[in-house]
């Protein structure tokens, strides 16, 4: 299944859940956001059991994006127990995203 696009309410709910949450902050006009799409969806399929892997369109939720400190997209943030533990901007490969997740989960 492809990574689901969520809104602010869903974001807040997910953050209260027990699973860590990975959010891809993106926008439709961002070329590189599309580029990471297929690999990000593959991650959602492969790691979806242990991790919520979702996307959030910053044009739909500009205030939330600002509150989360998004200045460049795509930015991926991993949240654990409701808190942002680490982020990565414009990862260059699926392997890089996997390393990021692994390292962020270990923090």
């Amino acid at each position: 299944m492809a990574a689901m696009n969520i809104n602010k309410n869903q974001f807040e709910q997910l953050l209260q859940g027990s699973k860590p949450v990975l959010v891809d902050f993106w926008a439709p006009w961002c070329g590189y956001c599309r580029r990471i799409g297929p690999a990000y969806d593959a991650l959602a399929r492969e790691l979806g059991q242990s991790l919520e892997i979702v996307k959030l369109n910053i044009d739909e939720e500009p205030r939330l994006a600002q509150a989360e400190g998004i200045e460049v997209i795509p930015t991926l943030i991993l949240y654990k127990e409701g808190k942002a533990v680490d982020s990565i901007v414009a990862p260059e490969s699926k392997a890089r995203m996997e390393r990021f997740i692994e390292e962020a989960l270990a923090k």
Binding site: A27, W29, C30, G31, Y32, R34, R35, I36, G37, P38, A39, A42, E71, V72, V89, A90, E92, S93, K94, A95, R96, E98
Partner: protein
């Protein structure tokens, strides 16, 4: 994809050249795997409109074109792994690629790793990427709506970037080390007519001035040595490309600029290994020449494989 299998053809890179090789290989009945670290399309995946690939009279979005090339190759049985290749063993009859998704073996290997934007090579450049320094106007231009940006370069991509940014930014300053553009004529007029585009000829960027983000650039005039400070929040570097050949350094003959030395047949110095698309030495790097390489590599690989069986 299967790490136990010996593929007929392993293709490193899923741009137009790579997926055309995959298409021809799959149609020729070769067991084919494309290793792509992110998504299909290569450099065109960041181009909003490709207007010089025949058959799409209104132009086609580069990302969509890449996805279509992948889908077309896969229709005939080619497979894709989202794998980042870490090292290659190209000698011998069975070649091995170590990747983020395990190791893969193949009888032939097609190098289709393409090229990437060149960096300026000045201090703080890497540190300021995403905080003012950018390499893709089509990707990051929207962040500079209503702001002042500079574009460095004088070729077609610099001119196209400046034109694109002029529609979004308050002001665009084109910085070029010569006194005239190298870009094809088609770009000159619209650029010169834009009221919010300024030119800094005979200039190069000496220093990036920043706090948290980029604030200004210091330019040096290449004729007079005079230095000027130009305030801008964005700096788009568009000074050409460099081949992605780190992986094959020392394994395949490269030219001075780092491109894999291969002629029209795409054969490299190693039997059963082919170089296609922008990564190969060639006079014109375009999607149409890349796809031609892909087809050629498969023709040569078929001959090579048949010769080995015979």
């Amino acid at each position: 994809m299967d790490t136990n299998r010996i593929y007929d053809m392993l293709i490193v890179g899923g741009g137009p050249a790579g997926y055309t090789a995959a298409l021809y290989a799959a149609r020729a009945g070769l067991d084919t795997l494309v290793l792509e670290k992110l998504s299909p399309g290569g450099q065109i995946a960041l181009t909003h409109q490709v207007d010089n690939y025949p058959g799409f009279e209104e132009g086609i979005d580069g990302f969509d074109l890449g996805m279509k090339m992948q889908a077309q190759a896969e229709r005939f049985g080619a497979k894709t792994a989202f794998a980042e290749v870490y090292s290659l063993e190209l000698e011998g009859q069975i070649k091995t690629l170590e990747t983020s998704e395990g190791s893969f073996r193949g009888r032939t290997v097609v190098i289709a790793t393409g090229a990437n934007p060149k960096e300026l090579g000045i201090e703080k450049e890497a540190q300021l990427v995403g905080r003012g320094v950018a390499y893709c106007a089509a990707c990051d231009g929207m962040f500079y709506r209503g702001k002042t940006v500079a574009v460095v370069g004088g070729g077609n991509s610099a001119a196209a970037d400046a034109l694109l940014l002029s529609r979004v930014a308050k002001k665009v300053i084109l910085v070029h080390r010569r006194d005239t553009l190298r870009a094809t004529q088609i770009y000159h007029k619209p650029l010169l007519e834009k009221e919010n585009v300024e030119f800094c000829w005979n200039s190069q960027v000496e220093e990036l001035i920043h706090g948290d983000k980029l604030q200004a650039i210091r330019l040096r005039n290449t004729q007079t040595g005079e230095q000027t400070l130009v305030e801008c929040e964005g700096l788009f570097v568009s000074i050409g490309r460099k081949p992605a050949t780190e992986l094959v350094k020392g394994k395949l003959p490269l030219d001075e600029a780092g491109y894999v030395i291969a002629g029209e047949t795409t054969e490299t110095g190693v039997p059963g290994v082919y170089a296609v698309g922008d990564v190969r030495t060639k006079p014109l790097r375009q999607v149409v020449t890349a796809v031609a390489d892909g087809a050629m590599a498969v023709a040569m690989a078929e001959e090579y494989l048949a010769g080995r069986e015979g």
